[in-house]
Subunit: 745 residues, 2 copies
């Protein structure tokens, strides 16, 4: 269907939807002239043309076309006036030598493990260059065992299995995609003694239940399978053999056997046509209601009688990957970097993932280059990066961050990431010290379909979809909340390893995206089912381009700490409430076991064991966290008041003070890190945002405290509270330094 | 699987689970001796044997075997000492002469419309006696038109279709079962101009999504179809040609064309194997997310390209139905009737529906007969009824109530209904003036699996499944709440037409019931997947038998009004909150239309019209209702205090006072009725409980007020509040009379 364009006068809608805040102060707003010129330099046609080129052939890490793409991008950057280089890393990237999955009992079936070419999809037949369907960093293995269905394969699922007397030791598990980062599934399966892990795409996720399947619609058809990394990314991303250091040619590498992030058991992703005979052959109890997917069968748990043999063998070679970097040097503060990135590697052709975001970023670069050619002199350096090897495990960005850690600590002001992009609503996550600033940006970018700002459109949807007190709260804020970043794209090494304030920006929600990591994530798919006219690609370029321009040109880096503080207060409240809830749950469990009501409420014929008692939850001392949050709150308010006052007076900050302030502000996010990292995963140093150890993509805020509670490590809670409180106190101190500079005392 | 029996000492568990109220006063508790003897007279083997006989052949209304069953039951009643008679009514009961459903475009398909015999099910091959799959009281018709999928086919679904520009005028709709009484579907379809209605059983309801299908498991297989009435029962149940009067041989009958409850359009139920090709052939927009069922396809709305021809033709004959009634006359107050009923007709073999409840009721009758033979002299008359023709529309009970309306007004004290019964938890609904009494009964019946009382088991499950404040509230009440009665079984004419205080009792929740109204609702199915050892049949007999014994023998009818009043207060609060919510919704809609946020939140490519404004909701005068509820509250408290005081003193109420009190109490439920009935449906006279005009089975409490609000008939609200308030004032006055009698003034 053709996108309907209804350009409404943006300013009119803005006044209608927003209160006074909308017209409020924007210390960092660029001149209308500069940003108009920037916008004029963008073109949907370029995005389309580049997507066609970049997605013309498979371009995964280590592929010939991946290298060609890197050179193509570098050539463009150069032609637009960027100081450009390609940086190579050699990373472990296993690809299959052989894969097979057979059912041996109660009947024989051999999985096809193939996505067939479709006439409607021009690139789907490039089988000689396509990576087969597989999970990268699965261990080699040839295992035979009874099958058990484990739902999403997250820890809670195994608790349910145990209550039903089902043990996966020596068994092969089949899990459906969803519910967690895929790497969690083989990890948890292995922790429970399983010997193999199959992951399939249930049609209730992105298949026919979601919408018409490809090529009639955009969703995953019966043969579509989701490739993807199963490395234990929550421990560390990047090359499994070089944690914490760059995988340069001469770098010291771990022995394969010592690489902590490679799965312990063989793992393979399959389509729902391959999964159906296996699931049909399962006996044992019927799966719990919420475990049932969209296949036309009754989901059983097993074990058996289905018995399968899973055999996978991989090359374990290092392959070269190519990060492209183009710089527009700053004139006044060249040693402050505004870094913008999007990956360029794909699992196969990757029109959506990552090319849709990549081409928007390229157009930004082109238009910025033109502004510079026309005389614009950004104060700070602008660095555009196209990362390789994101798909296997954020390889290109992680190795680059590890290679340039010292420089980044000195110079990186902000990292702005994008990835897949489509038609719909603005989604933005990141460091909350950038929230106020980013709202001034998104308030100035028109939505391609309605003409109001992308901020206002997202806000309208949030309000319409909320209810009660939540709706009132949304109405009372003029801006949007940034969501906290977990993982899943290249911001992770910047934010969570290097402590660089980061943003992740994209549009979506009005597409038919069922081709994630499939050969059908193609140009032909994109122009029918995603951002069909590339108008949201241009909107992404406008959003991120403005972000870059304003950051590069600001007199003082536009950090503000009041939104950070408000969000921090929420997180502190949340971990306190989490402790209370766990305590209530344990008490309630004790009560329901004591009076046997849990037994009486159960169906004895189902033979489901009553859950056992929960260990008692002690009371914790949250005061250090609360005091630290209070200190941040106080300083944040003072800093905000001071800068607002200066702006009101129209008082320019003297250049010397600007430099001193920037030096403090540029280091603020780093103050949220601890060199010792998170418990059990030292690579992750950020103490406010991290991917969950057992969720993967899903964020855990105040992770050291929250995960100590969730994992019921009671003895760790108070020490972690104290440790995180110290970090936050240091953050408050940083704001204090900025205040002293502004006050000149 | 075999049911696990774990008999625990009931009194021990009782003390553990319940507070002091559990050991509170029981003015109506029978002597342990009598009830033990009653229990000893019950036998699971009898239930099993009678089920085998009664479900041996199809026994729908008007069938040969239905008549045989009536005579079998009557013979048993007689043999147990009941004064027994069979009362015949002649009722309109159409059965199919021909049925056909074909798809003409885009490809040809002829629906099988048949449930095949299964080897594992001995009675499934009795095709010569089985009613085919059809909907009783569908109009005749032969229509051809494009198909539209309408989800459940309730009013809100048509609103969603309209927003998508889909008009069902001249079309045939296909709706899935669920979401309402099935008769609502053709009614609403016709109101919107559809010319035919197909209703199918989606596997997400009672098919493979729910569990293994028959005969592997108990759920509906691909050929199973749900027969059932589609009469407009919320207008009136019973013979469509004799609303309000008994369909005795000479009775005046409406012309067929004037019968209000027959559908306006032809209607047919089908299985999911018949529905699949039709749904697969639908084009048009993809159905909204919540509309998608469990079939392996993407649900589209149409209209077309699927074009179907639906042709159904019925006999429109009157058939004889046979109600069985057996009476044990009361010795002291023979003119006060305790009525117990369960229907005996089925759609086909009906092992679950209704035989499972029927055989329990028969065993009660046998055991009561033995008590009488052994010398027990119940004060009041006990009347056991087996109704015919329930399935087509509560025919047997409705015609009987209409035939004996005057006697019932004078004599009926309480009606106790049951229907399908299975393993699991107690479910009890009814008049809240019986709530306290019924809790004294269910507190004395042991759960067959755990030995604690059936009350305690249900309460334990309610507590375990609740959370937060709801759980606390449940813990703070010693008893169970009766659910309010809507419709769907034979209590409707008693409660809602004759104003007889009623109870509806059953067990369930631990079964595999996917054979509702199918040929596979058989003995073979029952003993594998339902109450496999008939222990819950015996529990039902113990529960209802005790209810009957205590009601028959009480010195004074055990009505209490404090629970009624507390429940009434809740309903009054609910209708007030409903008005507020509707007002808030209209205001919110206005706001979201005014600032266009509803538009901005929508996907323009979907071409879904923004919902229009909602008419403003005036403020209503709820004071009369609140004052009436207050009056009830005050009187209820006074009556309760007075009776508790007497009980404490051990003071016997003199016989004359008992009679006078009974006369008032017996008329109390009638005081909740208005002869003019509910707006637009005069047959329904009860002003507190009614089936919803657009939900069918689903109850509407304070229906005249609630439905005026829901249907946005603002002008009706205040008058209905006043009218219902008058009824409640009269109820309070009734309690006042009882108080005056007790006080002797």
């Amino acid at each position: 269907m053709k996108t309907v364009h209804r350009y409404l006068p943006a300013i009119l809608c803005s006044l209608t939807l927003l209160g006074p805040a909308a017209s409020g102060a924007r210390q960092t707003a660029g001149t209308g002239g500069l940003e108009s010129s920037f916008d004029n330099g963008l073109s949907a046609d370029s995005l389309r043309a580049w997507m066609k080129i970049l997605s013309a052939r498979p371009h995964h890490a280590g592929s010939a076309y991946g290298k060609e793409n890197a050179e193509f991008i570098a050539g463009k950057f150069r032609s637009w006036g960027f100081e450009t280089e390609i940086e190579r890393f050699d990373v472990l990237f296993p690809v299959p030598e052989s894969r097979s999955l057979e059912m041996l009992e109660p009947s024989r079936f051999t999985a096809k493990l193939a996505e067939p070419p479709l006439e409607a999809d021009a690139t789907s037949g490039q089988s000689s260059e396509q990576l087969p369907t597989y999970n990268a960093y699965s261990a080699d293995g040839d295992v035979t065992g009874e099958l058990v269905y484990v739902n999403y394969g997250i820890p809670d699922d195994y608790t349910e299995l145990e209550r039903r007397g089902i043990d996966v030791r020596g068994k092969i598990v089949i899990a459906r995609y969803g519910g967690s980062w895929r790497g969690i599934k083989p990890k948890v399966a292995a922790e429970h003694g399983a010997i193999g892990c199959i992951i399939y795409s249930d049609p209730s996720g992105d298949g026919y239940t979601a919408g018409d399947v490809y090529p009639r619609g955009g969703y995953r058809n019966e043969s579509g399978a989701q490739r993807g990394s199963v490395a234990d990314m929550p421990v560390y991303p990047g090359d499994p053999l070089t944690p914490g250091t760059a995988s340069t040619p001469g770098a010291k590498r771990l022995a394969l056997a010592d690489a902590q992030t490679i799965t312990k058991i063989p793992t393979l992703p399959i389509s729902y046509s391959d999964a159906t005979p296996l699931l049909e052959a399962l006996g044992g109890p019927v799966a719990p209601g919420e475990w049932r997917g969209g296949l036309p069968l009754t989901y059983h748990l097993g074990p058996g009688p289905a018995k399968v043999r899973l055999a996978v063998k991989f090359t374990w070679d290092n392959v070269p990957i190519y990060d492209v970097r183009g710089t527009l040097p700053g004139t006044e503060r060249p040693d402050q970097w505004i870094i913008r990135g999007n990956h360029h590697d794909a699992w196969v052709n990757g029109a959506t993932d990552p090319v849709s975001g990549l081409v928007a970023m390229m157009d930004e670069a082109r238009s910025l280059g033109r502004l510079v050619a026309d005389g614009w002199k950004p104060k700070r350096s602008i660095v555009y990066c196209a990362w390789d090897g994101e798909e296997p495990g954020l390889l290109g960005s992680t190795e680059w961050v590890e290679a340039h850690a010292d420089a980044l600590k000195q110079r990186a002001a902000v990292y702005i990431n994008s990835d897949s992009n489509s038609r719909g609503f603005l989604n933005a996550g990141g460091s909350h010290s950038l929230e106020k600033f980013f709202n001034t940006v998104s308030r100035d970018v028109p939505d391609p379909q309605y003409g109001i700002s992308v901020l206002e459109r997202r806000r309208a949807a949030d309000i319409v979809n909320a209810s009660g007190a939540d709706r009132d709260e949304l109405r009372n804020r003029a801006g949007l909340r940034l969501y906290p970043l977990g993982s899943g794209s290249d911001y992770t090494p910047f934010l969570q390893h290097a402590g660089v304030a980061s943003l992740n920006v994209g549009f979506g929600g009005e597409d038919q995206y069922g081709q994630y990591h499939s050969i059908y994530d193609s140009y032909d798919h994109y122009i029918r089912f995603m951002d069909t006219d590339f108008s949201y690609g241009v909107a992404l370029a406008k959003t991120c381009g403005r972000t870059v321009i304003r950051l590069a040109d600001a007199d003082v880096l536009p950090f503000d700490f009041t939104d950070f503080s408000a969000t921090l207060d929420r997180y502190v409240r949340e971990v306190g409430e989490l402790a209370d809830r766990l305590r209530d749950e344990a008490a309630e469990r004790e009560r329901e076991l004591g009076d046997s009501s849990l037994t009486y409420a159960s169906n004895p014929a189902e033979h489901i064991e009553t859950p056992g008692p929960l260990d008692e939850v002690p009371y914790f001392n949250f005061a250090p966290l609360q005091n630290a949050a209070a200190a941040v709150r106080e300083k944040a308010a003072a800093y905000s008041e001071l800068t607002a006052g200066l702006e009101k007076e129209g008082a320019a900050i003297p250049a010397a003070k600007q430099q001193a302030l920037d030096a403090v502000l540029l280091g603020m996010e780093r103050r949220l890190t601890l060199p010792s990292g998170l418990p059990g995963r030292p690579w992750y140093v950020h103490q406010v945002y991290a991917p969950g150890a057992y969720t993967g993509y899903g964020v855990k805020t105040l992770p050291a405290v929250r995960e100590s509670l969730e994992l019921r490590r009671w003895a760790d809670v108070d020490p972690q509270i104290a440790s995180v409180a110290g970090v936050l106190m240091n953050y408050a101190e940083g704001i204090g330094e900025a205040i002293r500079i502004l006050r000149g005392n």
